[in-house]
């Protein structure tokens, strides 16, 4: 046991050193730095099994999201920072170390590691907020730290305190998460609320939601991708963990998450339609999606299928939001604005980016073969199966999901209109060429939104759904491929770019 611990810590320290070194040389030896970063971020898959780490379904999903997402974001931010600042070593370091700590968080085994890494990721999050605008983001950081850290502290320390009451403080510091299950910790209603509040706050559930939109919009876009794509998933991971490890008060657990989830879903999706800033739209959409995730989490006591569904949703939303926010950041760089009424010509200016962002659009709406379709489909089918058991709750949730889908279509159209609708707007300035890594990371995130459902077919949410889904999946991949070939072969090419109806 001690030997495994030493091995794991050595591994973590090695990772930290590799990342620090890779970012130190990034301005001089770019290729070496890239290779080192890929090795470091992907290494959990090779190293952890060797040192006695057991992969479970939960870990696999989250580590998959974290490692792949980290590589994508890290490579994207490299180009982003280069365009904005020139010399990038010191700032890239902050982004990479944050990503690294998030990966480490998903591989933690001990309770105390879990607590410490969580708090450190919180602090790194505040550094991400400060990254681009410095202390001009003071109010945002204040809000973020106050709400998240205080609530997080309560929940995490509560876990420690409960364990300490059972087995003493010294033992608490070496107890592993697995052993918590054997301790049979039972929580009364008040403690259940306190144990969940830190994590629901991190998911910005109403009434503690007000920090989210400011934080997401004021952070630099790769940072927002981390916040929305990865950091919020830590809260889901924590909720799933404490649900399986402690004996929570099930009634309080269900109704607290359910009520918060319903209100947040409606609030989040409704507000997406009221804004014209695409980053704000995406932030509110994140809020809405967190609401949906909380609702799914609240249903786990009824049927275990929602556990797998939640994991699926985590993958879906993680990759979707990584790509969406990276895309927002691309738009920001290309046009210097995020207002959809001043955009609309992007499809002509940046064709390459346009073709990838269509996948985000499809995924947001939930059209096959994207992960979005699969997530929504499986969710609705499972909800209908739950209908006999708890008719009222499942009805309300189905209505909420329907509401969410409708509004998803509305804001997705708003989003894609930044590329396609251009009757009044025209480019403000000539566009800056993006770096290749930026293109590639966008391609990767787009492709993973399509490829990853395959993995879920193996895990098997439900045999009935699987068969249908598989057929749909294959058909849609085929149709997509065909469309692309037809488009390449037959679509006429314009030699001159038309912008806003005026010939350039």
């Amino acid at each position: 046991m001690i030997w495994e611990l030493i091995q794991r810590y050595t591994y973590y320290i090695l990772l930290l050193v590799i990342i620090l070194f890779a970012d130190h040389i990034i301005d001089r030896r770019l290729m070496i730095s890239r290779v080192l970063r890929i090795v470091a971020f992907a290494s959990p898959w090779f190293i952890l099994p060797v040192i006695g780490f057991e992969f479970k379904l939960l870990n696999i999903v989250f580590i998959l999201l974290a490692t792949l997402g980290s590589i994508i974001i890290s490579f994207y931010s490299e180009g982003y920072l280069k365009i904005l600042f020139g010399k990038i070593s010191s700032l890239q370091m902050i982004i990479d170390i944050t990503l690294l700590f998030i990966i480490i968080f998903f591989t933690t085994q001990n309770l105390i590691e879990f607590v410490i890494i969580w708090i450190i990721v919180e602090l790194m999050g505040s550094l991400l907020v400060l990254l681009e605008r410095g202390m001009r983001n003071y109010n945002v950081v204040m809000k973020y730290l106050l709400v998240c850290v205080t609530a997080g502290d309560i929940s995490l320390f509560l876990l420690l305190a409960l364990t300490a009451m059972k087995i003493g403080f010294d033992q608490t510091l070496i107890v592993s998460l697995e052993e918590l299950k054997n301790l049979n910790l039972t929580l009364n209603p008040l403690l259940t609320i306190l144990a969940l509040i830190g994590f629901t706050t991190k998911l910005a559930q109403i009434p503690l939601h007000f920090w989210l939109v400011d934080t997401y919009t004021e952070t630099s876009s790769p940072g927002t991708a981390i916040f929305s794509g990865l950091m919020s998933k830590m809260a889901i991971y924590a909720i799933l963990n404490i649900y399986s490890l402690l004996n929570l008060d099930i009634t309080i657990y269900t109704y607290m998450l359910l009520i918060q989830g319903i209100i947040t879903t409606i609030y989040g999706f409704l507000l997406t339609t009221l804004h014209s800033d695409i980053k704000k739209i995406m932030s509110y959409s994140s809020l809405g999606h967190y609401g949906v995730m909380t609702m799914i989490a609240s249903l786990i006591p009824y049927n275990n299928i929602f556990y797998t569904l939640l994991l699926l949703y985590v993958l879906y939303h993680g990759f979707l939001k990584i790509q969406a926010f990276l895309n927002v950041s691309t738009i920001e760089i290309l046009t210097n604005t995020r207002d959809i009424y001043r955009l609309g010509y992007l499809a002509q200016v940046a064709r390459k980016v346009y073709s990838y962002s269509i996948i985000t659009f499809l995924s947001l709406i939930g059209i096959p073969p994207t992960l979005g379709f699969y997530a929504k489909f499986a969710l609705l089918v499972s909800l209908f199966m739950l209908f006999n058991q708890v008719p009222l709750i499942s009805l309300i949730i189905i209505i909420c999901i329907g509401f969410a889908s409708v509004f998803s279509v509305i804001y997705s159209i708003k989003y894609i209109s930044t590329y396609t609708s251009s009757y009044r707007s025209k480019p403000i300035r000539t566009t800056i060429p993006l770096t290749n890594t930026q293109y590639w990371s966008e391609i990767c995130s787009a492709v993973s939104a399509v490829i990853l459902p395959l993995m879920f077919l193996f895990i098997g949410v439900n045999t009935f759904i699987d068969r249908i889904a598989f057929i749909v999946y294959v058909l849609s991949i085929l149709s997509m491929f065909l469309t692309y070939i037809i488009y390449r072969k037959y679509a006429p090419r314009e030699t001159k770019i038309w912008v806003g109806g005026i010939e350039v």
């Binding site: 370091m93 602090l123 850290v149 300490a164």
Partner: protein
Amino acid sequence: MNSTLIYFLLSIPFITVILGSKIRNDNQKYVVKSISYTSYLSIVIVLYSMELIDELSLVYTISIILLAWPISLYTEKYTVLNRYPSYLPLFIDLFSLSMITAYLSPNILGLITAWTIAELIGFILIGLGEQHSIEGSTRASQNFLFISALTFELSIFTLTYIVMTTLTFILGATSSLEALTIPFWILAKNKIEVPSILASLLIIGFIAKSGLVPLHFWLPSAHSVAPSPASSLLSGVMTAMGVYGLLRINMIIETDLQPLIYVLLTISLISILYGGLQAHMQRDGKKLLAYSTIAGNGFSMILLTYYIYTGDIDVLIALIVSILAHMSYKATFFLDIGLAEQITGFRYIHRLRGLASTLPISTLGGLLAFLSIIGVPPTTGFTSKLLSILLTISRFPDPLVLGIFISIILFIVFSIIIGLDYVKIYFGKPSIKLDQRKTLLEKNLLQQYCVLFVGLTNILFTLSILLFNRFTSYVIIYILASPLLLVLVYLINNVMRRET
């Protein structure tokens, strides 16, 4: 025999410091000062090994020596560059040495004598700052003397009166003065019963000393007006006497504590609210720190209440760690803002910017203090937060404990606000040009290292847990995780210096 030896030993640092102040050469002066403080350190350890002092005194004195030593070195340059009279360093040394002696003293007589001397020197130091400062209050020193010092004397003489009248017969002491030289732990064996009127007289001085509402109004002006090294001692070390004194009193007297607990809880809660809100409103950096001292002492007092309520040794450890955490981050911040004032000429935090590139080394110390005040693992601030929340949750259904828990959460909220308010000064573009920075760096190098050293105590002080033989595995994890802090400080520094 023993007492003669102790008097002889204790006079060594005082004499070295007084003689050392006559030396002209700077480097020799530093060496002599260091000798004085290290000798005091060794004396404390010797006394502890001879079982003449208890753990409480040991923890307090060692940590104060570790703070006072760099503060003393810091003062030399500070005096010259700010044109303070040349006797300031000597006074700072005597101030800290007499306070250390007060904390060290195992009996009431020593405590009274050393502390009264320290109060008088404190009065002189604040008066000195008053004459020197252009923006501070003009009545700070009077307020300090009449509110803080006088009420303290009131309480301590009440204690003297009680001990002298009751113990002379019980313990068979030959004279009433001899009763005052009985060590605290012997007094603790047969507790003195005190009527509740006298009990309220006993605690009022310590409440005033901690600067808790309603006896707080002397504190912000006194702490902001004094020269920065003195403020850092006043805020970090002197106000800690409030909790220390109450701990000692709790050891030796027996009274109906129930009303006392509610009174203490109420005033500490109000202090946290008042101090936190006022600190957030301040523009003067030193005033901000002074008000946050009120909030910090409120927090310590809440833990003390909890300790009196439960009598649990773990709570005592949490209390001591919290006091040490407050001591170290407040001392660091005061030294840091003093340095900033020295090079820019003002200390308004809405105007001070870019210290991360002007004062790179002291910024590291300030950052450690910042991490401690917002409670990032593994700092002393984190340990105090962790232990206090842990210990309150473990007794949860009790309504009083629930109140204590809510007060602790409030304090955590306010300390994050205060930390973020303060840390703004490191960000942004500095007003000083690049070529000037180099000369500045050479001028202030030692002072900056002193701030860094005081900042390091934010990590170091958690080790005081080891003395109590509890939480040993926590200390191991703590030591293993402390390199993380270096990475964090490095990264924060990167963000801060981006705009320059």
